[in-house]
Amino acid sequence: MQMNSSGQSITHPPLLRARIGMWQHWKELARYRDLLYYMVVRELKGRYKSSVLGFVWSLLNPLLMMLVFTVIFTLIMPNNQIRSYPIFLLCGLLPWNYFTAGVLSSVGSVIGNGNLVKKVYFPREILPISSVLAQLVNFLLSLLVVFALLLIFGISFSPKLWLLPVVIVMQTCFIIGISLFLSAINVYYRDTAMILDVILMAWFFLTPVFYPVDILPKSYEMFGMVLDIHRLMNILNPMASIVNTYRDILYLGTYTVGDFFLRTAVTSVVVMLSGYWVFNKMSGNFGEEL
């Protein structure tokens, strides 16, 4: 039964090639959603293994942070310009921490699972995405603490609180986009993870986490041009928009301007899709590079 290689008919229609695109990847990811779930479980279980309190730490951490802030900013260096400064800080810091934890834990996710990548086929984007989602679980738990503290500090809930889930989804899209991009780059250049610490620190100071945007000058003249700093910050730094939106909803109880909100949402989705695109371009060679 000799087979002639060239004698075999080519049976796949050209249509099939066209379908291999973003959509195909989405469909496959959807089929593997249960794997995504178990990877998140695995990540969480791995994190809390052999710790006595386990997931309680997700609640305890923001509480303890709050305690530290309260002591520092009411006793040691009181900040009277901003009402309930510890809450103000926490409302910005928790989303920021979600961002950094998500990016830092996912940047090495492909390399860390190298053995898996080399031996089993599955959509590789599950690795960074599950790392981010595990941090999301953490973040959601810590938000419970925020609500409790809002009550304690007597800050009334905003009527726009229903927007909060939307913001969380927005931010998650943004983090996933960045994570997909960085985790793929990191496979080829391990320096990515190294330089990330510094970048995140700079980013932290450029984001209004521990200060309100208002303390920055409204406009700044440079090379004869008048720059709108507030606008510029929000345009150049999606995290600034996201943190401000959280703070609007949780702390100030105000409604974020509609088009601002929309722009942030669009930015997040664009970041996610571009990250996904880059990741898919690079993921084919992961098995070889690792």
Binding site: S5, I20, Y37, K119
Partner: protein, 441 residues
């Protein structure tokens, strides 16, 4: 391009490999940092240190539903790369690979396991990795646990498992995902004999239920038993594809030739040196050297079962010796003494020897099976009171089963089977009774 699709219509191959090539870039030191990248931009010559390696070079074949295809070839021939390409773990450099239906690749048992999770949780994790959903895994959970023989250990973190338990669970999950196609790479060589046996019968069940199998193995016997088609893969190409026995024979002949060439070179360079502890005797008559020869009298180190073998014993007797006895012993590599013929048992009386000469032991058809064997030679006096020279297990040769299909034990008895019940034996539509069905040699 790698294309994975669920669309399958009757008559289409499950796997199509079309003109696939794969290039590996071998770099002395992996370029992994921005600094090195930066340097290499200005220093193009640094690029010349990279070597290209093509484990696949324009390979094409198809695998149809219900087929079982074995891939054989030496280590490093690219068999595993081929399997990884079909599994989707690696991407082809050029060419297309299309797989239809669900593919489960057993490249390593329990590759997706996580030590901190229990066996049960790992079944979910690993099962979803093979593309099942939660519901489908729940349906198979009991079967998987039963197959893995883990019992109560299933709810224990698997970092406490023994390696045997680990691979049992890994295989149990893979086989119970009921894929359309199973890719198996050598993994069955782990685990104890009972487990291997269980895996083999599970694979046979999988095949009987219409599953398709792609099997990479060094165990040529298993390939012949399990597969209905085989590929000999080497030098980045499919050397032959066809019936397993033919392919295995072609491969073995090639291996034998290569080993023979290497052996010849060694023989030319140096006569096998017999260490002192392997040799004793009064040396009144000496065995100078021993050749293992084929039908044509060519020196060989590799023989096929069923083929002739000759052992040539060259001796030198400085003084005249009356009625000497020449003998041999044949040992399997594991130490089993298989046989020990000598001229006395054969009633061959040698009146005397003096000076140089040669004794030949002729075996018309070798009944040894696959394995490595050692020959001892001796010459002693008729009463066996004086050993002149004895070379203990100093000559080595290898036997490949070749066309002999027997696989168990060391030798074939060349026996014959017959059915003695009254019922006629039907074979090939012809009716014949109480005929001896002799095995093919």
């Amino acid at each position: 391009m790698y294309i994975r699709t669920d669309a399958y219509s009757e008559g289409q191959p499950l796997v199509e490999v079309q003109n696939v090539s794969k290039r590996f870039v071998l770099r002395q030191e992996q370029q992994r940092s921005f600094q090195e990248l930066f340097i290499s931009i200005f220093n193009r010559r640094a690029d010349s240190t990279r070597k290209l390696f093509w484990p696949l070079n324009d390979v094409s074949f198809s695998l149809y539903k219900g087929e079982s295809l074995g891939i054989i070839g030496p280590n490093g021939s690219g068999k595993s790369t081929l399997l990884k390409l079909i599994a989707g773990v690696l991407e082809p450099t050029s060419g297309d690979i299309i797989t239809r239906g669900r593919v489960a690749a057993l490249l390593e048992l329990g590759a997706g396991f996580h030590g901190d999770l229990t066996g049960r949780e790992n079944i979910y994790l690993n099962g979803t990795m093979y593309g099942l959903n939660r519901h489908e895994i729940e349906q198979r959970m009991d079967e998987i646990i039963e197959f893995s023989e883990l019992g109560e250990f299933i709810d224990m973190p698997i970092k406490h498992y023994s390696s045997g338990m680990y691979v049992r669970l890994g295989f149990a999950v893979a086989i119970h995902t009921k894929p359309d196609m199973l890719l198996v790479d050598e993994v069955l060589s782990v685990g104890d004999a009972a487990f291997q046996h269980k895996c083999m019968s599970a694979i046979q069940d999988f095949r009987r239920s219409g599953g398709t199998l792609l099997f990479v193995s060094h165990d040529l016997g298993t390939v012949q038993t399990v597969c209905d088609r085989a590929i000999w893969y080497e030098y980045g190409k499919i050397q032959t594809i066809g019936h397993p026995t033919d392919v295995v024979m072609g491969y073995l002949n090639h291996v034998a030739e290569k080993e023979e060439a290497a052996h010849q070179k060694r023989v030319k360079d140096e006569r096998p040196i017999i260490r002192d502890e392997q040799r004793w005797g009064t040396k009144r008559a000496e065995i100078t050297h021993v050749d293992l020869c084929d039908r044509e009298g060519e020196t060989r180190s590799i023989f096929m079962s069923g083929a002739p073998l000759e052992i040539h014993i060259h001796y030198n007797a400085p003084v005249r010796i009356e009625h000497p006895v020449f003998g041999l012993a044949l040992h399997h590599q594991n130490g089993t003494h298989i046989t020990g013929p000598n001229t006395d048992f054969a009633d061959l009386d040698i009146p005397f020897i003096e000076g140089k000469g040669k004794m030949v032991f002729h075996v018309p058809a070798l009944s040894l099976l696959n394995g490595e064997y050692l020959v001892s030679v001796a010459v002693h006096n008729q009463a066996d009171t004086e050993m002149f020279d004895y070379h203990d297990r100093s000559y080595r040769f290898r036997v490949y089963a070749g066309q002999v299909r027997e696989r168990y034990g060391l030798i074939t008895l060349n026996g014959q089977w017959k059915q003695v019940s009254a019922a006629p034996v039907i074979k090939n539509g012809a009716k014949y009774q109480s005929d001896f069905v002799s095995q093919k040699n």
